[in-house]
């Protein structure tokens, strides 16, 4: 029983971080955009879930009341309705994800367009500030996502009853696999080489006729859309959107650490990085209490310290990642021949 819970938890956590980290790998790993505002697009996706599906259903069901103030009771009725209507649940889920993708693209474009030409450090900090700003607005502007109190999301998995989290975890993981194949195809296609060219030497790339601004914008739009999917999925999965949760530590730096652990610009590497990181983290959380008799201080702080030390060790001993970037892969002659035949 407990083992199954652990597995499901792994599945869901790996799922959401895999999507985010793949998205990060696309813009930071392949294209060299120092995206320290990954959380920005993630929040965008979560806000879509907070704002649209609940209100739409409340309107459809003719519920009275303010969606934010009377949130829990309205969501309760909505969930009762969704529990008996599988089709509606699925339709709502898919529609919301699509809106989130669209919204993510817009956010990616808007956040990058004016900043695309400034240097690497400034761009990193600008994106970081934007992500943080989105969170501040979410916490203070209640109509968006309930402000500090947060808002419950309609439960599109309510039909599964007690197995709700089983289904949600599996769906989350399935999405991450789909995203993996999508990103992998994208980066192994000529686009991937173009991205690396831009990353490694902008001037050389430009001289080859690559429109650098265009490439970067396109990359950020795609990667933000992917991150927004992660945000929306996580909101549906956890059943609530609370703006205070969207911190730069959880959703920007952890994906960065995962990507560096696995090996940037290598999707298989990212998968291994995410998996290893999540597993290590869960083991630290779980087994730290075993150490408490030997410690002169509270074991909780050991967790914080170990967390930091883990990332530092990764950087020290695996600077290239578990599976370093392989440059030859896309230039494999057989692949090219196959592609030509196809």
């Amino acid at each position: 029983m407990a083992a199954i819970d652990f597995l499901l938890d792994m599945l869901a956590t790996v799922g959401v971080f895999l999507i985010l980290t793949l998205s990060l790998n696309l813009d930071a790993g392949y294209c060299g955009i120092p995206n320290f505002g990954k959380v920005l697009a993630m929040i965008a996706g979560a806000f879509v879930v907070a704002f649209f599906p609940g209100r739409i259903l409340a309107w459809m069901l003719g519920l009275s009341g303010d969606f934010v103030v009377d949130n829990a009771s309205m969501i309760f009725q909505i969930n009762n309705f969704l529990a008996s209507d599988l089709l509606m649940s699925v339709a709502l889920f898919i529609a919301t994800i699509i809106v989130a993708i669209g919204f993510g693209m817009v956010v990616g474009y808007v956040s990058t367009r004016p900043a695309v030409k400034i240097g690497s450090g400034p761009l990193a900090i600008t994106l970081l500030a934007m992500g943080e700003g989105m969170r501040v607005i979410g916490i203070n502007y209640a109509p968006l996502a309930g402000g500090s109190i947060g808002i419950s999301a309609p439960d599109v998995f309510a039909w599964a009853g007690g197995d709700r989290f089983v289904v949600a975890s599996v769906v989350l993981f399935a999405f991450s696999i789909a995203v993996f194949f999508y990103v992998n195809r994208l980066t192994n296609a000529p686009l991937g080489r173009m991205l690396r060219a831009v990353r490694d030497n902008e001037i050389a790339a430009e001289s080859l006729g690559i429109n650098i601004v265009g490439v970067k914008l396109k990359t950020m739009m795609i990667s933000s859309a992917i991150a927004a999917i992660a945000g929306a999925l996580y909101a549906f999965y956890s059943g609530a959107v609370i703006s205070t949760a969207y911190t730069r530590a959880s959703w920007t730096f952890i994906p960065w650490a995962m990507m560096l652990l696995g090996g940037s610009a290598n999707n298989i590497g990212v998968v291994s990085g995410v998996f290893t990181f999540v597993l290590l983290r869960k083991l630290i959380v779980m087994y730290k209490t075993e150490l408490s008799p030997y410690l002169p201080f509270d074991v909780l702080w050991l967790e914080l310290i170990l967390y930091g030390v883990m990332v530092i060790l990764i950087l020290l001993y695996r600077p290239e990642g578990l599976i370093p970037e392989k440059r030859t892969k896309t230039l494999d002659l057989n692949t090219i021949k196959k592609l030509q035949k196809a």
């Binding site: 309760f76 916490i139 109190i149 419950s152 209490t289």
Partner: protein
């Protein structure tokens, strides 16, 4: 049968301990508390059966981040309770011991959920803590779907009151506090209220509830000043309050205007910032919510104590009904942390004991069985915080509010009780003489 006898015995014991306590209550810093040492538990023979070995209870709370200060005190009282529980279990040869598995949520809902899932994976399905509504909301869905009992010591958000779920809370919702604040305002003849509040789930729900209650009786509530809960410096807030007060006075007259603060420990920085504006000359009515009430930092600072006593500020507090037990726990908290706990802190103690009592009664580690016992346990539980049963939503029905002021007695600043607000009748009664609390 035996289990019922046990519960009744425990409850009667605790109740007896409370009744038998000396009337004089002295808690707080430096107080030589007259601790009742009556063993409050008169246990019957342990029920043979279900529970054995180490019984693990989870504790998820913000021990770093915004909730760190309250997390620390609630965990301290929880540990005090845990020691008592284990001593009792040992004395009665119950055959099991209780342990707390503490996890830090960093006051972030996503981390809270992660920690809850980790506890679940370790087979722990009874999890207390939950100092903030934000953390609680983020984990509710998971708890309900996986049948994990969450017992919160601090969440007060109104909309989280859902019937028949797995979430139980030791605080009444803010709706009640809103009513109390409004009846106080009415009593003082205030028709215009200016709130200054902590912009987190706790503060927001108190102010929202006050607005709702005020609208019913025709008191207007100013748009007020909501401050960032991470804020550590309150100059702009103080300045804005000063101008809000000026304009309200011009419009309604000083005697019709009141202001109230909804804050925790950061209140000391707010009052200090306010001091620069000579607020004692405002001439308006001063109120607070239960956050700063009975806190030692109010009487500990001359600036603040003088300010609130000259202005006759009324501090309501959900009554941790002064009792021998409360005194005992406060003395222990004082010993460990160098300060006393507020009701949020004392609730940590009550969380652990009520869970222990319910576990003893249920005699198996099963959230559903424990939940079945919880209402009965609360019906008769006195504990550190005082009696208050659960309502149909699994929150406590309500609390009488004590009304307190700060007075200078014998050259020292003291907390005194001046009245009470009864949650049943929703009316205020004043004591003939102020009673010194500490």
């Amino acid at each position: 049968m035996a289990t019922i006898a046990l519960v009744v015995g425990l409850i009667v014991g605790i109740g007896a301990g409370w009744v038998a306590k000396p009337a004089e209550v002295t808690v707080g810093p430096g107080a030589t508390a007259t601790v009742t040492t009556t063993k409050t538990v008169t246990a019957t023979a342990p029920a043979a059966g279900g529970l054995s070995g180490e019984v693990k209870i989870g504790w998820v709370d913000g021990l770093t981040g915004g909730n760190a200060f309250w997390g620390e005190q609630a965990m301290t009282t929880a540990e005090i309770a845990l020691e008592e529980v284990n001593k009792h279990l040992k004395d009665t040869n119950a055959g099991w011991t209780m342990t707390l598995v503490v996890e830090d949520s960093e006051t972030k809902p996503d981390i809270a959920l992660e920690k809850l899932k980790s506890l679940h994976a370790r087979g722990i399905t009874i999890v207390s803590g939950w100092g903030t509504s934000g953390d609680l909301r983020g984990s509710m869905s998971y708890a309900n779907a996986n049948k994990i009992l969450l017992l919160s010591y601090g969440s007060t958000a109104i909309d989280l009151a859902v019937a028949n779920d797995y979430v139980y809370r030791l605080m009444p919702t803010s709706a009640q506090e809103g009513k109390m604040l409004v009846s106080l305002a009415q009593h003082l003849g205030v028709t215009y209220l200016i709130p200054l509040w902590r912009g987190d789930s706790w503060g927001d729900s108190v102010v929202n509830a006050t607005r709702t209650a005020a609208a019913e009786v025709g008191i207007s509530v100013d748009e007020g000043i909501r401050y960032n809960p991470d804020a550590v410096e309150f100059s702009a807030e103080a300045s804005a309050l000063n101008s809000a007060v000026s304009s309200a006075k011009a419009q309604y007259g000083a005697d019709k205007v009141g202001w109230f603060i909804v804050c925790f420990e950061e209140g000391k920085a707010i009052y200090e910032a306010l001091a620069a504006y000579n607020p004692t000359t405002w001439g308006i009515k001063w109120l607070t919510n239960d956050g700063p009430s009975l806190c030692d930092w109010v009487v500990g600072s001359t600036t603040i104590a003088e300010m609130v006593s000259t202005t006759d500020c009324i501090f309501p507090a959900k009554m941790p009904t002064p009792s021998g037990k409360m005194q005992e726990v406060q003395a222990e908290v004082q010993r460990r942390l160098g300060r006393t706990a507020d009701l949020y802190g004392l609730n940590g103690y009550d969380c652990v004991w009520t869970l222990a009592l319910s576990l003893m009664a249920a005699d198996k580690y099963d959230p559903d069985a424990v939940i079945a016992q919880l209402p009965m346990v609360f019906e008769a539980y006195q504990g550190a915080g005082g009696w208050s049963p659960l309502n149909e939503y699994g929150d406590r029905v309500g609390r009488n509010f004590g009304l307190y002021k700060v007075m200078q007695i014998g050259g020292e600043w003291k907390w005194v009780q001046v009245g009470m607000w009864d949650f049943g009748t929703e009316e205020i009664s004043w004591l003939p003489e102020p009673v010194v609390v500490y």
